[in-house]
Symmetry: C2
Subunit: 406 residues, 2 copies
């Protein structure tokens, strides 16, 4: 047994980039703008604790089995009702509760595509989604966006071109319509309609990732893309930003029940923890959800304001941004020639983390932006953190100027 | 938008058999021997409830985030210590906590294989595993077993033949060494050694699914296959049979860290719920695990005895079985010419469910056995349920004899 041979594992694993911020934990006093964590103040710990006790004491024997008591049904009913807020009418059997919405992205991708198929995304887009698409061995291309979201004219041009050239049409397009990660912008209502029309015309699906929809500072919501074209949309959302990420609960819904059944078939963790679903069912029954979200959104809006003030103070005209009306992120654009990776590690050493723009582009095309999360950190630390970024940036700029003899 | 085109979803979905027992819920007074559910009496609801409250109140803000407090580390440390009982020495970074052990089977399969690769299983084997292998698009063949588990002589013969014929060697062999599902038998220690040797010699992995290891009525445990060949085994186990299935928590461990990292990469639900891990960490710290398992095993042993007595009483010499020394299942063998599917639905109408043997064979080769779970049902119902099976069986036998003019 001494000699161990070479063993070839699956060829499915692509080279995946490691975020620079993954090393961020090392600093003793780190201000973490890198990751999209909710504020600890957003958690209703006392109600969750009561819910856990109720779930166990009222229906423990069923909540602990493979398939549970009434909890999972209550959760799905809640999702069905809540979906009406974005003009979605859906039957409960068309809703699949998943272990977070990333799992829903994975299941939807493997249900809609085979390796080698094409998927189009927004540029920039969420790096976690790029990661799932890469693992599903699909080919990824991107469509530009502006302050009104995905540029549907550009999309239509590219689709026409593909048809003309006999090139592949995407199996689906991945879109975040509300408080987009990383840019924070919303897709305009005209473009939502246009996108649904194009999906029917060119026969592709839209993977509508609506993780941030409840994080609207004004409380207003636009109708979903799904509402304009239910037969070509898989709609995803999550409790990670509204209740807590640690419960690992999101959902997918689709008008075509076959899609949902196939996603379920790939879901090797079985029903998403019936124990947690039972707890969340009690939580949802007892929470005043509108009030709960208003409290969270007021907190986040104040933090967003603090961040914008700090950015204005520290950077003046040096950076540009679209002020987000919800969500988790501020997207700062530096002058075109800047490569934000050049001061990311200097910033980490000063005790602040962010994510550089290259990670949000499939082709790593744009390097002059950074994504800052404003939700996790209190206002004092936001002030301090932005200052640390500015120090790192200006020091880096100075050394480049010295090097270039400016 | 009126005309919706045909949309081709992924080709990855095989035809999967629907268990007859899936209809079982319809009977108002059903005795469910079909599914491998633990007894409700096995759950320590009061300690789980205390653990949930402690987890939330002592470290709620971290237990609810994407990555948690100390809970996940405690769980992994516990697994590391407990693995010593089956002679496994492993570093904590080589342990991956999964959302149930079925997820671990899925992740391991996709890490080790590409579509078209070969996987060998025991005949019979767990239908859930067959399902995962089919979804991973591998080719499945089987090796016979007897009352000492997988027949390693037969395996060696088949491997030699494959080499001689230049036919494919399996990428891995799936084995349940303890209280095998469905047969209830254990793999002998000599065969464990032999299996590990063959894995090194022929360069395949062993997926050692040890879901039932703690369900030993005597409390004794054999050393794992892993202990004889750590470089060619991925070892899996679960809390589903010891704490509760509803918490959805299992694990995989491997000597090769690359395997674990790749499995993690495919795990699209992120870290298995840190909230639940925090709760289980408190549970494990407070439970008297040996006492807890003894209580469960005493309960199950009594139920197993009740089932065997009922079988003897109702069937006499008509059926054969190996008496299980642990686990969840009794495997009844009828005369060779019997097709147990022929009385499965009659039994369902009489209010008892079981799983017919065809579902446990890749090629559906043997039809004369049934799997009965003895853990979920109390002794009175066990008596009643076995009687219902006997009535269904003898009635079926009689009508066949009438038909054949016997």
């Amino acid at each position: 047994m001494e000699l161990v041979k070479e063993y070839p594992i699956s060829k499915r694993f692509p080279e995946l980039p490691l975020l620079s911020a993954a090393n961020a934990k090392k600093h003793p006093d780190l201000i973490p703008f890198a990751f999209g964590h909710p504020a600890k103040e957003s958690f209703d710990i006392s109600l969750l604790s009561d819910s856990a006790v109720s779930a166990l004491q009222l229906d423990g024997p069923r909540a602990l089995q493979y398939s549970g008591g009434a909890g999972p049904d209550h959760v799905v009913n809640w999702i069905q009702q809540r979906s009406k807020h974005v003009s979605i009418i859906v039957e409960t059997q068309n809703i699949l509760v998943t272990a977070g919405s990333m799992q829903a992205i994975d299941l939807a991708t493997r249900t809609l595509t085979d390796p080698g198929d094409h998927v189009w995304v927004e540029a920039p887009t969420f790096f976690g989604a790029i990661r799932q698409f890469s693992l599903a061995e699909v080919k990824i291309s991107s469509i530009p966006m502006d302050q009104n979201g995905l540029m549907t004219d550009e999309l239509e041009r590219k689709l026409k071109e593909a048809v003309k050239d006999n090139a592949p049409i995407p199996k689906f397009i991945y879109v975040m319509p509300n408080y987009h990660n990383p840019t924070g912008v919303c897709l305009s209502i005209e473009r939502r309609k246009k996108l649904a029309e194009l999906a029917y015309e060119y026969n592709f699906y839209i993977l509508e990732d609506d993780a941030y929809v409840e994080l609207s500072f004004s409380g207003e919501k636009l109708p979903s893309i799904y509402s304009f074209g239910p037969k070509r949309v898989i709609y995803l959302s999550t409790f990670s930003k509204t209740i807590a990420p640690g419960i690992r609960m999101g959902w997918a819904l689709a008008d075509d029940e076959v899609i949902i059944q196939r996603m379920k078939m790939l879901k090797s963790d079985g029903s998403t923890s019936v124990f947690v679903q039972e707890i969340i069912s009690h939580f949802l029954a007892d929470v005043k959800f509108e009030y709960h979200m208003k409290r969270i959104n007021d907190l986040y809006c104040a933090r967003k304001d603090a961040m914008i003030n700090a950015v204005k103070e520290c950077f003046g005209e040096e950076v540009a941004f679209t002020e987000p009306e919800g969500g988790f992120f501020l997207w700062l654009s530096f002058p075109k020639e800047v490569n934000t990776s050049e001061f990311a590690s200097a910033a980490l050493s000063r005790g602040v983390s962010f994510i550089e723009s290259k990670f949000f582009y499939v082709d790593r095309a744009e390097t002059n932006h950074i994504r800052l999360s404003f939700t996790f950190t209190n206002e004092e630390d936001i002030q301090k953190g932005v200052k640390r970024i500015a120090e790192s940036y200006y020091q880096c700029k100075k050394s480049i100027e010295v090097l270039n003899g400016v």
